[in-house]
């Protein structure tokens, strides 16, 4: 027999960017603790729909922690209280019977609100468009191992590439800075030979795009790496700083 809990939800409702938002209170009874957080929101939305009210708008897609679509600030923490966990992979067993849960959208000037918990993260797309790819002509497939890559570099590049672009780093940063995201995206390519030819232009243009999008400046508060569902380290920010310095002084 599954365990159930009764919870009080304080959830952010806002019809659009130009409207005033406020919290709405709902009591959910008999919430199965095996439910995920998003399934709990589905139950809430069914309850709202049945009573003739507008359901809460929230982003989600894969619901298995790899797409980066979901995310909200739960009781003051981006993606909720479990470390290295996206909101969809957070389960209701981590909450107490009778607990009040406050759910807010990710708040940042770089992420304008669309509706309720849905925010516009296209600023991240702009950063990627600015240089988060390899555009050199790779030609046809060559012999294996003709470009040696150190195991440690491959691992670090893979760690950086684990970033799903969910935006929790921006949400948690006291300055709403996007340095962990940009650091990861610059690092995953800077660490590998394929990314090297364009590394200077990439670092410069991705930082420029980041600044233009209205994100804040990093002040090394380290909140980002603590909420990152993929535990991207701020070493990637240090690497971005190095890449940027080298590019600023030596790029053509």
């Amino acid at each position: 027999m599954a365990k159930t809990i009764t919870i009080t939800i304080k959830i952010w409702r806002q019809s659009g960017a130009d409207f005033q938002g406020s919290f709405e209170k709902h009591v959910l009874e008999s919430v199965d603790t095996d439910m995920s957080f998003l399934e709990m929101l589905d139950v809430l939305n069914e309850q709202l729909t049945l009573s003739g009210r507008e359901p809460v708008a929230f982003d989600h897609d894969c619901r298995e922690g790899i797409c980066g679509m979901c995310g909200a600030v739960v009781n003051g923490t981006a993606h909720g209280p479990e470390r290295e966990t996206t909101l969809c992979q957070l389960h209701m067993r981590h909450f107490r019977d009778g607990q009040t849960i406050t759910i807010e959208p990710f708040r940042a000037k770089g992420f304008p609100l669309i509706k309720d918990l849905i925010i516009d993260r296209s600023a991240f797309d702009q950063v990627i468009i600015a240089g988060g790819y390899v555009s050199v002509n790779a030609g046809s497939a060559q012999d294996g191992n003709s470009i040696p890559v150190a195991q440690a570099n491959a691992e670090q590049a893979m760690d950086a590439a684990a970033c799903i672009g969910c935006g929790a780093c921006v949400a948690a940063c006291p300055n709403a800075a996007a340095m962990l995201f940009v650091g990861a995206k610059v690092s995953q390519l800077a660490l590998l030979p394929q990314g090297s030819p364009e590394r200077k232009r990439r670092a410069l243009s991705m930082v420029t795009a980041m600044d233009k999008a209205g994100f804040g400046n990093c002040s090394n508060e380290r909140e980002c790496e603590n909420v990152c569902p993929k535990s991207i380290s701020i070493r990637n920010i240090a690497r971005l700083n190095r890449e940027y310095l080298r590019a600023a002084f030596t790029a053509d």
Partner: protein, 216 residues
Amino acid sequence: MSWFRQACTSSVGKKYIMAVTGFLLGGFLLVHAAGNSSIFWGRQAFNSYAEHLHSLGILINIAEVGLLTIFLVHIYTGLTLFLQNRTARESRYAVQKPAGGRTWGSTTMPYTGLAILAFILLHLLNFHFTGQDKPIADIVGPILNNPLYSIIYAAAMLILGLHISHGFWSVFQSIGINHPKYDGFLRAISWAGCFSIAGIFLTIVLLLLFSGNQLR
């Protein structure tokens, strides 16, 4: 030179400016603390340290202008970052909970910085722009024997300690020095720098408060 201006005004560039000026100011503090520790050896040692410093002539003026420039750049860039970061989040979270990265030092950086600026102005009025032509020991001794000044100076040193508790480590991260092999070492020298600077200055304040004869 437009590339240079562009780099300096970018978010990463501004962090470099904060880090480099912060590092230089930290170096100044270490030298300042080392020089002031001549107070531990009494009046003669302290006066002779000051005389040696003044005998450098034009060099001391050059150093003063350099230091002032570094200070102004650090303050201007710091305030720019502070104001920009405030506008980067227009609506505040109803529930605010630190995720485990912030420290007292990192959270209060702009405020401790401004408090230190206010203290430096007082400090310069007390000991630099005195208008008196007396040996340094006769200027410093009476002021730091006054409990009111002792409290202000001691509080300022604790605030300075808080500021550099984040600042020293932050210097390394901002200029990109972060490597698993040196994590422990960097943290250790950051704390050592923080404690030695704040510790030496605090000891001097307490010594001059409780031992009025130290500089006589």
